[in-house]
């Protein structure tokens, strides 16, 4: 590489480093602010004194969460949801991607199924027919209303199908010669060699289930069954109202709700995502490139 050190080149470098750093900080600061808020004394948080460092540090907000029974119930509901929803997603992704990855010679009906999947991706009834369907199926207020409608992630099926197609033919033929049937070939050859892709897809679907709030808001009526994001959303609705309140109104509200308490709940809610994020990041760049730039 030829090094030229003209002032213009140095300028490019300085501007790039600055812009990149500013953008990075912009992503970090709101989260640090929220963390600081959650660790601040209630009155300091309410008065807007907190910026990036806790003012009059206190763990009372987190202690208050320990006493919030609904928070724990909702947390548990969300865990159940990601386990059940995630398991369904993996099951259907693998079992559908494998047959679809076979050639037309081995699986003559393949294209009919493929068109069916594409059709379901292109057309949707929208929220009202969906709501009426869930109602008719008597799934209201049940965890199944949260996991069944999204149980077959069609986009992921296509991603994994493409990945399966990249598996070397020799592996497939070797399994065939050894007398392995299609199920064994799928489970003992294709699934193990496709773990990076399956891991990415699974983490994505788990994060998706964890983050979903709207279905919980419209299908679940019993407060004890509400998932965590929906519970947090109920608090955000209060914030939504408070975002247009005057200072006097807010002073009254601060007595009851408390910014630091809400901030602590927000922090605990995003914690699981932040915990799986390093694993997610390791794989997803691979996954997204796989999905989007495939020629």
């Amino acid at each position: 590489m030829v090094k030229s050190n003209s002032s213009g080149d140095r300028m490019v470098k300085i501007v790039s480093y600055t812009v990149v750093t500013v953008l990075m900080l912009s992503c970090l600061l709101p989260l640090i602010h929220t963390l600081a808020l959650s660790l601040s004394d209630k009155s300091a948080a309410a008065s807007g004194m907190v910026t990036l460092w806790p003012v009059r540090p206190s763990n009372s907000a987190y202690k208050a969460i320990l006493g919030d029974k609904q928070f724990f119930l909702s947390f548990k509901n969300s865990i159940v949801r990601i386990l059940l929803g995630g398991a369904l997603n993996i099951f259907f992704t693998v079992t559908m991607a494998f047959p679809l990855s076979r050639s037309k010679r081995l699986f003559p009906q393949r294209n009919i199924y493929m068109w069916f999947l594409i059709f379901t991706m292109l057309f949707s009834g929208g929220i009202i027919p969906m709501y009426l369907l869930i109602y008719r199926l008597k799934l209201m207020d049940s965890i199944w209303a949260l996991v069944l409608p999204s149980a077959v992630p069609v986009y992921n099926v296509i991603l994994l199908m493409n990945y399966f197609r990249g598996v070397p033919r020799e592996l497939d033929e070797a399994a065939r010669l050894d007398g392995a049937g299609p199920l064994r070939t799928m489970l003992q050859v294709f699934v193990p060699v496709s773990m990076p892709c399956i891991a990415t897809i699974t983490l994505f679907s788990i994060v998706g289930h964890w983050n979903a709030f709207f279905d919980g808001a419209i299908y679940i009526n019993t407060q004890a069954k509400v998932p965590l994001q929906t519970y947090i959303q109920q608090l955000v609705v209060d914030m939504r109202a408070s975002s247009v309140m005057s200072k006097e109104e807010l002073a009254i509200l601060a007595e009851i709700s408390g910014k630091s308490f809400n901030a602590a709940k927000v922090i605990v809610t995003m914690l699981p995502v932040l915990l799986v994020y390093p694993f997610l990041q390791k794989y997803f760049v691979h996954g997204i490139v796989l999905g989007s730039v495939k020629g």
């Binding site: 080149d9 470098k13 990149v20 047959p99 949707s124 069944l148 983050n211 994001q229 975002s243 760049v285």
Partner: protein, 310 residues
Amino acid sequence: MMTNSNRSSGSLPKKRSNSERLTYNLLMWPGVILLFIFSIVPLFGLVIAFQNYIPAKGIAGSEWVGLDNFILIFSLPDSWRVLGNTLYIAIAKMSIGIVVPLIFAIMLNEVSSKRYKQVVQTVVYMPYFLSWVILGGIFLSMLSIDGVINRIIEMLGEEPVMFMADGKWARAIIILTDCWKNFGYGAIIYLAALTSIDLDLYEAAAIDGASRFRQILHVTVPALVPTVVLVATLNLGGVLNAGFDQIYNMYNPLVYDTIDIIDTFVYRMGLVDMQFSLGTAVGLFKSVVSFVLIVLSYVLAKKFTGYRIF
């Protein structure tokens, strides 16, 4: 070897291939049934857009009204307002959502420290994985009259602003926070394209005396053009998706004028006011237009860049 391949075209594999087909079909069916219930059946539910649907009477018992719901909707000023807002917000988000990740990717490419690059990437991808419930909560708290932003404004000696009570501010905030959440993730596709640039090109340009800035202009940017075209055309299908999750979590009645969009309108009309037929009619209108746009965008993407998903 010979005997093996001869055997595999014999009678035993024939039997096996039949059972193999059966296995494949059986593997497909559970998923197909679920998709049928949750993707196809709701499509039949769309007929209530042409009815005066009353839940107690069901679809069979409700009265058919032809296109009355559509005529009513297009006569409401609110419908035109939400259509305008949707287009405004979606197009603004898309344009900024192309430009910012692009500039970010080009500049990140100029960062020579590999470690720093990784740190930056780790941080900027993160917001993509946080829900709008969480982020809405964070931003609303920061932007409220007693929030940290107004505290800073006051320290600078200015009057505090009630951001989410002002239509123009609220719209700008919706567009900017969406960019904030997605720009890092959106840059991945450009960064992937950058890795495929032949480094010799930079070297050749440098030997020819091109400054780093000119190298960016004549090597980096041209390498990204196909990706930009692809992203822009594929975005076309989302012109009526202005971001329900975000707006649902951040809006309030004071700013319906500028940030109420089709999806939030459908939600309030259908599930809050229980106007099932009217809500479905708006939703159907949106789906039909979106479908046409998606097909168009894929046709264009294929024509311009040879891109195929299936």
